[in-house]
């Protein structure tokens, strides 16, 4: 996805192909979601503390929010060797 420069340095422009309206009956702007929808389609820019593994952090987030699934984008710290994955397993994560 990245070539020779990081993705955050890419500049983009919007091009119009056709004119169209959207029906207010369907869907909803992201800022207008109910709190349930907001959680279901939510992300957290988490500042990971030093000790728990990325894996454990996901388990904690799930427990705090009471959500059934969560994932993390890019392990921050290799899982510790010889340490059982004890803090509530997260079977569904990327």
């Amino acid at each position: 996805m990245d070539d020779n420069s990081p993705i955050w340095e890419t500049k983009r422009q919007l091009k119009i192909l056709a004119q169209a309206e959207t029906n207010p009956q369907y869907g909803r702007r992201p800022a207008e979601r109910s709190i349930e929808e907001h959680l279901r389609l939510g992300t957290i820019n988490l500042d990971k503390p030093p000790n728990p593994s990325s894996h454990e952090v996901v388990a904690w987030v799930k427990r705090i929010l009471g959500v059934s699934h969560a994932g993390h984008g890019g392990t921050l710290e290799a899982e510790k060797p010889g340490r059982p994955d004890g803090y509530g397993r997260t079977p569904h994560h990327a």
Binding site: M1, D2, N4, S5, P6, I7, W8, T10, R12, Q13, L14, K15, I16, L17, A18, A20, T22, N23, Y26, G27, R28, R29, P30, A31, I35, H38, L39, R40, L41, G42, T43, I44, N45, L46, D47, K48, P49, P50, S54, V57, V58, W60, V61, I64, L65, V67, S68, H69, A70, G71, H72, G73, G74, L76, A78, E79, P81, H92, H93, A94
Partner: protein, 258 residues
């Protein structure tokens, strides 16, 4: 000690996880050299490891241990204090910084290891931008549960659309949305507007006209060729994020029996 930006996706947002996994990262790293090396030599080693490098994943890696090519976009030296070297590095996804340190140590002849690492950016997420700790998340949830106030929770948790900040987006007609939710390819007549920078095989976000993400897709053509064509497939749907039935199913009733 490893800290910093860890993007978390909740429930349906987890379908967008690839955006984070595949995009570049930025770290501040404290490297410890195992010998005394002149500053100029350290600087040239940092320079040497910028651009394309070859890296063999460490023994305990989540990927196959095969030497692979990675791009280091930039290394900025922040401070040298004796054998301790503090630097900022921007790199392609899948670069092991611990390995980068030990490889630099080998190149310098003295050996080195990574002491501390802080991730300051993971693709669209930056440490200066709406970054929160587990405690802040817990507090936001408590305020919501006990006082019924949502504001804090809506601040700590951000819509999944933010993950697409740096991907090119394609905005589609209401009538094309539900077909995409069922995994259909995106045909050019369904497009209303799109961003520049799309190339064949690049990851793109398919969005509604209400700025909701529908799916993550792989472009089949460039922005320019999509703009020039009247029909054909613009993108193949890879991960559907929006639930089907959110938009009307008119695409079905319009299908003619053969």
């Amino acid at each position: 000690m490893v800290t910093g930006v860890l993007p978390i996706t909740l429930e349906d947002a987890t379908k967008a996880i690839q955006v984070f996994l595949l995009s570049g990262k930025e770290y501040v790293c404290l490297m410890h050299l195992h010998g005394d090396i002149p500053e100029e030599t350290i600087k040239s080693a940092l320079h040497e490891f910028t651009g394309e490098i070859y890296q063999k994943p460490p023994v305990r890696a989540s990927v196959k241990r095969e030497t692979r090519r990675r791009t280091i976009y930039k290394i900025d030296l922040l401070e040298i204090d004796g054998r301790r070297v503090l630097f900022r590095v921007a790199c392609q996804a899948g670069t092991y910084i611990r390995k980068l340190c030990s490889d630099m140590g080998e190149a310098l002849g003295c050996g080195a290891h990574m002491n501390e690492l802080r991730r300051t950016r993971a693709g669209p997420f930056n440490e200066d931008d709406n970054s929160y700790t587990l405690h802040e998340l817990q507090e936001a949830k408590r305020v919501y549960d006990e006082e019924g106030r949502e504001e804090q929770l809506r601040l700590v948790i951000q819509p999944v659309e933010g993950a697409f900040k740096y991907l090119s987006k394609i905005y589609i007609r209401d009538s094309a949305v539900d077909a995409i939710c069922h995994g259909a390819e995106l045909a050019i007549p369904g497009i209303v507007k799109l961003e520049t920078g799309i190339k064949p095989e690049s990851l793109v976000g398919i969005f509604t006209l209400k700025d909701e993400v529908v799916a993550l897709a792989e472009a089949q053509q460039s922005t320019e060729s999509i703009l020039a064509a009247e029909k054909g497939i613009a993108a193949k749907t890879k991960r559907v994020i929006m639930r089907s039935g959110t938009y009307s199913r008119e695409w079905r009733s319009r299908q003619k029996p053969n």
